[in-house]
Symmetry: C2
């Protein structure tokens, strides 16, 4: 666009979806495949789908019909189709709350097998598995008339995940959605007992380790309606001012609903994690955003929808957040109590049990595209919520709510 | 959920967004930040936003008011606010077509500067820039009571992009959305002249290089209503059967609208790329999906919405696709004609000019989180559509449409 030379194009260009027709309004078509060649083209089509009534029934159990009452409090196993077993764990919504239905499905064959135990013990404190990938052939493969990898002469496209190792946390950044992929922290009774950092001296900062064009900006959050929600909580890094400052980079933030979530239920979950150190001498927590699809009752299809804040739009507002918790027994090669939780980015009533949000680690893996415990042998694993009582302590925080507006205003806001 | 031991959780669990309240229905709130500590919590809030009328006017120029007629064919510069200059390139929609508005904004300061020329010439045929990242501190940083990187004892979370170097293409895979991040190919007059591969002998294949849990499946496309759309076209890899087979992995596919897009306008664009070899002895093309936000006129906010196909939902349906084209002059260190195009995943009328979809490379970079020409000095760059006529040849393909159903059905369908 424009007629100027290419290098004069502004750096921070933004493009948007401006299709007239919302994708949801698109007619259902048969499924076809085109293979075009210079000589001919051909298309193969599948017939129009019949609605899967089993599936519809399963995904609509979250309604208010009395016959579904029991389902709302219990996980059940259904026969979904000849080749699919679905376990639906549905929970009722409190007044005005978002409900959570976690659907776990299992396909026959390889996937249905329990993971085979890993017999070689992982090295303690090993460096991260390198972002390994086959080295593209450069120069061209033998006898090939082309060399696709020659592109890298102009730079490797990425994606680069801006892995940042700070004192208080390690984080991986999503340059496309301008949120972290994940942030990892470590807390112990000793680290929480040390109190040399104070949030009064910390300020929210754009992360200079992320290139300008992909960086989350303070301005993006300004008047967005969302909190700058810490993923590694500031309160977990009070052992030094530097550690606390580490948690204030926007690469450790996501847009979170404030009232009823970031300032309430999510804060209680963070407190739950800290209280685990009363039982486990070492606790590791991985936290991050999710962007989950939702079934549209109008057409039965699944859609992911999320807001993008900033002007021009820059930061995605996650639909959900996960925490994967590793509670260690303090011995090398010892047992690890593993727990995973997925919470909607929405107001959640305090009385909702935390276990309603418990999911298998594999569910977080599939939703995030990440892997969390590939090197943890099954015989070392325990289920956190079987090992301890997974419940929140609310009162303490409810009292603090009253003091919310009394404290000094944060200089970074 | 459930009471069984953790290792019995099925591998292919899926979780969805089941919030009762659609995020769009959420009330606008002031923007607040919570900093909670053991001693106190505090919240800082911004006031409710005033609508930016300049911005509203700019993003709604795609209507039919006569006063906006000129805008629809021309890029214009507006003063958007004190700190933002927006260049809006708006084009009119054909009858029944999706319109494309590309909005480029420029912030003052660092970003507004033209990129400084890179004086060191890139090495020809250099290996890809490694997926470099700072090595997390393991063991713990000096004097720190914690060691966040100790997590990697259990495996590195990723994301892993499954870089695959095949004879015909190099691809990078998005494990979360089950589409490629990008695919890179190379075509020359000689490679297109060789005809040893035939699509009749190729079959669509799930990519075994992608782990099962994150793999796009043939079943996901079945009856989805979308084509399995080649990103590197099969017709570009006819120089050997193996090369053509390489293009049939689902890691080279995205769900594409068939009629009016994959089988029409998109196919014409692929043909345009091949015809470039009549002018340039070597052409490199990077292709991939985008998931762009769209402004909701109801609340003025930006939302990204895309369908997810499969049962359980598995593969995201991109809202747009990009092609970044490097047309080389065949000399080492010579000029490179650079062009970038972003097309909606929707029916596009053949009469729509290709230049309507031309965007700066930086716009694709910001939307995808990738980088395409970081090592290409500005003095080596030319703008493709200034160097040659960026227009499609339709007739040839229109004729082929008639033969669409006559050919043999593809064995992989």
């Amino acid at each position: 666009m424009g007629t100027g030379p290419l290098h004069k194009f502004p750096k921070t260009t933004t493009i948007q979806d401006t299709r007239h027709h919302h994708p949801r309004n698109r007619l259902t078509r048969s499924s076809c495949s085109r293979v075009s060649t210079a000589e001919s083209s051909q298309t193969t089509c599948y017939p129009r789908p019949r609605p899967n009534r089993h599936f519809q029934a399963l995904t609509s159990i979250n309604n208010t019909h009395p016959a579904h009452a029991k389902l709302r409090r219990k996980a059940r196993i259904f026969t979904m189709s000849k080749s699919t077993i679905a376990i639906i764990a549905a929970v009722s919504a409190g007044a005005g709350a978002a409900a959570t239905v976690a659907m776990f499905s299992m396909r026959p064959g390889k996937q249905a097998e329990a993971p085979s135990p890993i017999t070689t013990a992982p090295k303690p404190l090993s460096a991260p598995k390198p972002l390994s990938a086959p080295t593209p052939t450069a120069p061209a493969a033998r006898d090939a008339p082309v060399n696709p990898a020659g592109l890298f002469e102009y730079g490797f496209p990425g994606p680069v995940s801006d892995l940042a190792a700070r004192t208080a946390l390690v984080s991986s950044y999503d340059r496309r959605l301008r949120n972290p992929h994940w942030v990892a922290e470590h807390i112990t009774p000793q680290s929480l007992a040390q109190r040399d950092g104070d949030r009064k001296h910390s300020a929210f900062l754009e992360d200079p380790q992320v290139p300008e064009a992909f960086r989350a900006k303070l301005n993006d959050y300004f008047r967005s309606g969302y909190d700058r929600g810490h993923q590694v909580p500031a309160a977990d890094a009070k052992w030094s001012q530097g550690a606390m400052d580490d948690t204030f980079y926007l690469s450790n933030m996501c847009p979170q609903v404030g009232e009823g979530f970031n300032r309430d239920y999510w804060a209680h979950l963070e407190d739950f994690c800290r209280r685990l150190t009363q039982l486990y001498p070492s606790v590791r927590i991985v936290t991050g955003p999710l962007y989950l699809p939702k079934r549209d009752p109008a057409d039965g299809k699944w859609y992911t929808t999320y807001e993008v804040i900033g002007n021009p739009p820059n930061i995605a507002v996650p639909t959900h957040f996960y925490k994967v918790i590793f509670a260690e027994d303090g011995t090398v090669g010892g047992k690890v109590a593993l727990g995973a939780f997925v919470l909607p980015n929405a107001r959640i009533p305090n009385e909702k049990p935390l276990t309603d949000f418990e999911v298998p680690v594999e569910a977080v893996e599939r939703a995030s595209g990440l892997e969390f415990a590939t090197k943890l042998p099954v015989q070392r694993r325990k289920r956190l919520c079987a090992d301890t009582n997974c419940s929140l302590v609310i009162k303490e925080y409810a009292d603090r709510q009253k003091a919310f507006t009394k404290g000094p205003r944060n200089p970074g806001s």
